[in-house]
């Protein structure tokens, strides 16, 4: 005797929807709430560490697009001083070869992904715009020692918290612990 043939299927279906009803929603309200991206993200920018760069231009040679423009002059202490480092992120395909080829670990992929602009010329990043700073941190791409320091990726808003996924059905309690950690 198979109970599927005696109308039990509808009851089962109703139970499934009721279970979903009692779950918190998985909707991500994007500008207010953001998920944590992959630790090895190849974000829409490069991050350049000035102090380590020797101006060898290996990155420019490895770029399949010929996209990195680098101009140097000879400095006083037998070194190169970088005059111009310019990357057109509009042409960039984020292959990461420049990061992998850099012999002095001066170039990293960035972590940001919200870099849409109204003008194409704003996509061209100059030397100043590429520099490492507080809000422009390198991603863990090609550098596992950076990767382990970054927070783990989240795929769902309410998951992967200390307290786990809990039933917070009522909005006034929900607001308190939403958003990016």
């Amino acid at each position: 005797m198979r109970f599927e043939r005696y109308g039990i299927g509808i009851i089962k279906g109703l139970m499934v929807t009721m279970k979903n009803f009692l779950r918190p929603p998985i909707t991500l309200q994007y500008p207010e709430e953001k998920l944590i991206t992959s630790r090895r993200i190849r974000g829409n920018e490069l991050v350049w560490q000035v102090s380590k760069c020797t101006g060898c231009a290996t990155c420019a040679k490895s770029c399949p697009q010929g996209n990195i423009e680098i101009v140097t002059h000879l400095g006083t202490e037998n070194n190169y001083v970088v005059d111009k480092l310019q990357v057109d992120t509009g042409k960039c395909m984020f292959c990461g070869l420049c990061v992998e080829s850099c012999p002095y670990e001066a170039l990293f992929m960035g972590r940001s992904y919200e870099r849409a602009t109204y003008r194409r010329r704003e996509l061209v990043l100059s030397k100043e715009a590429l520099e490492l700073s507080e809000d422009r941190q390198p991603s863990g791409y090609f550098y596992p020692r950076i990767e382990v320091l970054l927070p783990r990726q989240t795929l769902l808003l309410y998951w992967d918290r200390e307290d786990g996924q809990k039933l917070c059905w009522f909005p006034w309690r929900k607001k308190a612990n939403r958003g990016r950690r």
Binding site: E4, R5, Y6, G7, I10, G13, L14, V16, T17, M18, N20, F21, R23, P25, I26, T27, Q29, P171
Partner: protein, 369 residues
């Protein structure tokens, strides 16, 4: 003496008798319309939010706190939209259809008791009135389909008529079971007769009435007349602006009416312990609405032949058996009425539903019921 009657008698002290009649009834009508419109707004908001929760998403939450002003934004949009009539459509039929559809939804509430004595007119033929009036809205839907001069609208209208005719029979027969136990057609008397809610006394009748009225008000899974995947949105496809708004309102108005009638007939109306009666009434209405939503979010839409088969091969024979059973019990065993009846009827309902669902099993090469 109803509340309106007392108000009228008090008014007679200040004005002539005919004016007191008119003023008292106008106040009652305005109060009822206000109740219905407010409840429709609550229903639409609840539907959108709760369906969202059933689908593990949030639902509208941008306009105002928790999205409570979403409906106001929508209605402003509807009011400011252009009113388009199809070039070869029948203008007057197209114009009147939303009104004919919406008016019955309001008129049903004339006999719904919200409290002991709080009812606009305590008709002695309450259920008959409800059944007759609520069927009129199908005429409005048919007018909408006809006046639109659109094949999909007309298909939807024909489907609506076929559906209403089919489902009217089991619904009325399930209601007759209630009338037999209560011994009256008046809704107020039916509520007062329910010391035990009638859905316990005749679960099969409640089941049939719930499903039948779900089909009559064209809610999913019986929303064949606006099956988006087949006939775009059916009868209201050619409507825009506030005419569409009125059709949309009437959909929820009928849902509210059906919830109120189910509450009154089967769930004990305003009766209940501790809380004030009106609150009990509201809670029960919202509960019925929640069941509608629950079923809507679970069950996919039926095919046309399945819909007809469900009415004629499942609900109607079951309603006849239920009527026979209740009639025999009321006639021959009036002493054993509450408890013995409850046990017997629950057993019969369980067996019948099991047997009939066996008949409706599909699959294994079987595609028709």
């Amino acid at each position: 003496m109803t509340l309106i009657g007392q108000f009228r008698d008090w008014l007679i002290n200040f004005m002539p008798e005919w004016a007191a009649y008119i003023v008292a009834f106008l106040v009652g009508v305005v109060a009822i319309i206000a109740f219905v419109l407010v409840m429709i707004i609550v229903f639409i908001y609840l539907e959108r939010r709760l369906i969202g929760r059933f689908q593990v998403r949030l639902g509208p939450n941008r306009c105002g706190p928790e999205g409570i002003f979403q409906l106001i934004a929508d209605s402003i949009k509807l009011l400011t939209k252009e009113d388009i009539v199809p070039a070869k459509g029948d203008f007057w039929v197209h114009f009147l259809a939303p009104i004919v559809t919406f008016a019955p939804a309001l008129m049903v509430f004339a006999v719904v008791p919200f409290h002991k004595g709080v009812v606009l007119t305590d008709l002695d033929v309450g259920i008959l009135y409800v059944v007759a009036i609520s069927s009129i809205s199908v005429v409005g839907i048919y007018m909408a389909g006809w006046g639109s001069n659109n094949k999909y609208s007309l298909i939807a209208a024909l489907r609506a008529v076929a559906q209403a005719i089919s489902y009217e029979l089991p619904v009325v027969m399930a209601a007759v079971g209630v009338i037999l136990i209560a011994g009256s057609l008046s809704l107020s008397k039916i509520v007062e007769a329910q010391t035990i809610p009638f859905f316990l006394l005749q679960p099969l009748g409640f089941f049939i009435f719930l499903l039948g009225s779900m089909a009559e008000i064209n809610r999913s899974p019986f929303d064949l007349l606006e099956a988006e995947s087949e006939i775009v949105t059916g009868y209201n496809m050619e409507y825009s602006g506030m005419k569409f708004g009125l059709l949309y309102l009437s959909e929820y108005g009928h849902t509210l009416a059906a919830s109120c009638i189910i509450t009154t007939l089967f769930l004990g109306g305003w009766q209940g312990p501790l809380l004030p009666p009106f609150l009990w009434f509201l809670i029960k209405v919202l509960l019925v609405f929640f069941v509608f939503l629950w079923v809507r979010s679970t069950v996919p839409r039926l095919r046309v032949d399945q819909l007809m088969a469900f009415a004629w091969k499942c609900l109607l024979p079951m309603a006849l058996i239920n009527l026979l059973l209740i009639g025999a019990q009321v006639l021959w065993f009036p002493k054993a009425l509450p408890w013995g009846m409850m046990v017997v009827n629950f057993a019969v309902a369980g067996i019948l539903i099991l047997l009939w669902s066996r008949l409706f099993a599909l699959g294994g090469g079987r595609v028709e019921v």
